[in-house]
Amino acid sequence: MHQIKVVRNILLGIENLLLHKLRSLLTTLGIVFGVGSVVAMLSVGEGASKEALEQIRKLGSNNIIISSIKSIDEEAASTTHSHMSIYGLTYEDHRRVAETFRTIRQAAPVKLMRKEGRLGERSLELRIVGTTAVWFELVRRPVMAGRVLLASDDKGSLPVAVLTEFGARRLLAGEGTIGQKLRIGSDYFEVVGIVKSESGQAGNIQIPDQEIDVYIPISVAQAYFGDINTRRTAGTRERELVELHQMIVAVETIEDVEPTAGGIEHMLGRFHKKKDYLVSVPLALLRQAEATKRTFNIVLGSIAGISLLVGGIGIMNIMLASVTERTREIGIRRAIGAKRRQIIGQFLIETVVLSIIGGLIGIGLGVIVPSLITFFSGMATVITLASIVLPLVISGGVGIVFGLYPAVRAAKVDPIVALRHE
């Protein structure tokens, strides 16, 4: 019974609003823009979070990436002839980090060098990644064929190699390639597997793997290629000695990430005279995304707030005018026996219906705007159920807040006076 009455009241409200279509539409514009901003805000914020989570997934949320970097004075010194720069992480660093921190579950040492690889007729400039089986635990990528490196490969110093899908395609390798020999420099490696690879940046952190990678056991890399890299550039020969180019460390839980990173930073600082390493934390991306989200929320939230306020006042204004206009109607209803609260209900429902209609139009607008943002700025946006339900609730709330005063005014109308009202 009660529900039926509410439905009837809502239908009556809609009927009344339809009597003044243009006026109702104009009245509700503030709500339309306010709600539109809320939807857009939520979807941009949601998009930023999702993007960050995606990046963290690529990097590994529990990972800490420590990279060797050439310190600034080394950079200056290396311009002189036949100088050899020595910098970066050492095997000792790896051992020490892996043994010192109890929060660390696994640590993969990484040795990098660029060399040409040749498979049959085809050749490709490869990035040789000398590492251990742990790498594949920390940088998880789907295995396309064969297997990844094993601990026994490293222990036995077996000349095996794992290609990326991209590298395999460029070298015309396929499933049949497993077992074939890949030549790197003057050495031969048996291709044992093919994995997928990610590439590019995540935030300001380089993703550990690249498309042109080939993975070989670190013991083999060290034995075959040594620790000294020589680069020839325009007549000068640059030589540098770097034991490890990277270390990827995984901690037990996400809460351990930041303290452990701090600890590693501190420990490396004690053993390195120069700052020739960089500790990056993928989790920091999440903080960045949260900061972006916050900024967006503040900007769009203010716009939304102002629009909703203006919209609410607009609705209140028009409802007050409507109360005056309909004084006689109110008087008639009161004379017939309508109670004050029923008059309040009638006007309140009308206001709420009006603002919810505005809210629905606003949601439509708010769904279009994020796709335009994505189109023009490339910023990811995601529309969730919450980003539609919340604005709807807000618009209903605006209707109640700003409809209450006109409704109470309507209920205070004296029927005797109202019935004489012209």
Partner: protein
């Protein structure tokens, strides 16, 4: 119509030393100045008097639209002088019907919806209300007009809609405030005939008018002057 109301002199409406005083600036206006009066069930009353005599105030008080400053108003054996706004609304909704000079139909609602208005507040469902509205429209001869809006009707038709609406809740008393004031003589006569018929069917009718040719349709005529009853004519 309970047993309590049926006893004594069968008064449906009783006023005991009823006073209504308005404050107009510094001046007090005694719209009702101590009236004691009984209206019998089934009566047809015309309240007459020049403007300012207090006849409109009398009507508002009796119609539970306004409250006395002092004194007692007993409706159906029940003292309603001290009731709050909600209770008075409830009384109007269940026991009273109103017909006004300017019809007071809601212009954006159809004839049917206007007639249904009291039923809506009584909580009737849509189909029952529609049925009742049709019955009432037939009773006042407007069954063809149910889908029209008031603005498409003549004055007489509008007043008949208003009468149908006043009957929707099957009231004991119908208040008619200058019901023919906006109508030509012939149409007015039809409306008055309709009121007479309703009175014959058992409704108590209390009509306010300042025209004696209208008042003759009533069984009793109450002449008011300066907030008091000057004289009562007729019987019934």
């Amino acid at each position: 119509m309970n047993a309590g109301a049926a006893k004594a002199n069968d008064g449906i409406v009783q006023l005991e030393n009823a006073r209504k005083i308005y404050q107009m600036g510094h001046q007090e206006v005694k719209a009702l100045d101590g009236i004691t009066l009984t209206f019998r069930r089934g009566g047809f009353w015309a309240i007459m008097g020049p403007s300012g005599s207090g006849k409109s105030t009398m009507m508002n008080i009796l119609g539970c639209l306004d409250r006395l400053t002092s004194g007692q108003y007993i409706l159906e054996g029940r003292d309603v002088s001290e009731l709050d706004d909600d209770s008075l609304s409830e009384l109007r909704l269940r026991h009273l019907g109103f017909v006004f000079q300017s019809f007071n139909l809601i212009p954006q609602l159809t004839v049917q919806r206007n007639i249904e208005l009291p039923l809506y507040y009584l909580g009737w469902d849509a189909s029952r209300s529609a049925e009742r509205a049709r019955e009432l429209a037939e009773e006042v001869g407007l069954e063809e007009r149910l889908g029209h809006r008031p603005t498409e009707l003549s004055g007489g038709e509008m007043q008949r809609v208003a009468i149908a609406r006043s009957l929707a809740n099957d009231p004991e008393i119908i208040f008619a405030d200058e019901p023919t004031g906006n109508l030509d003589t012939a149409t007015g006569e039809q409306i008055l005939q309709l009121l007479v018929k309703l009175n014959e069917e058992g409704k108590t009718i209390i009509m306010v008018t300042h025209e004696s040719h209208v008042a003759v349709y009533a069984k009793r005529r109450l002449h008011m002057l300066d907030g008091v009853v000057e004289r009562i004519e007729g019987d019934g």
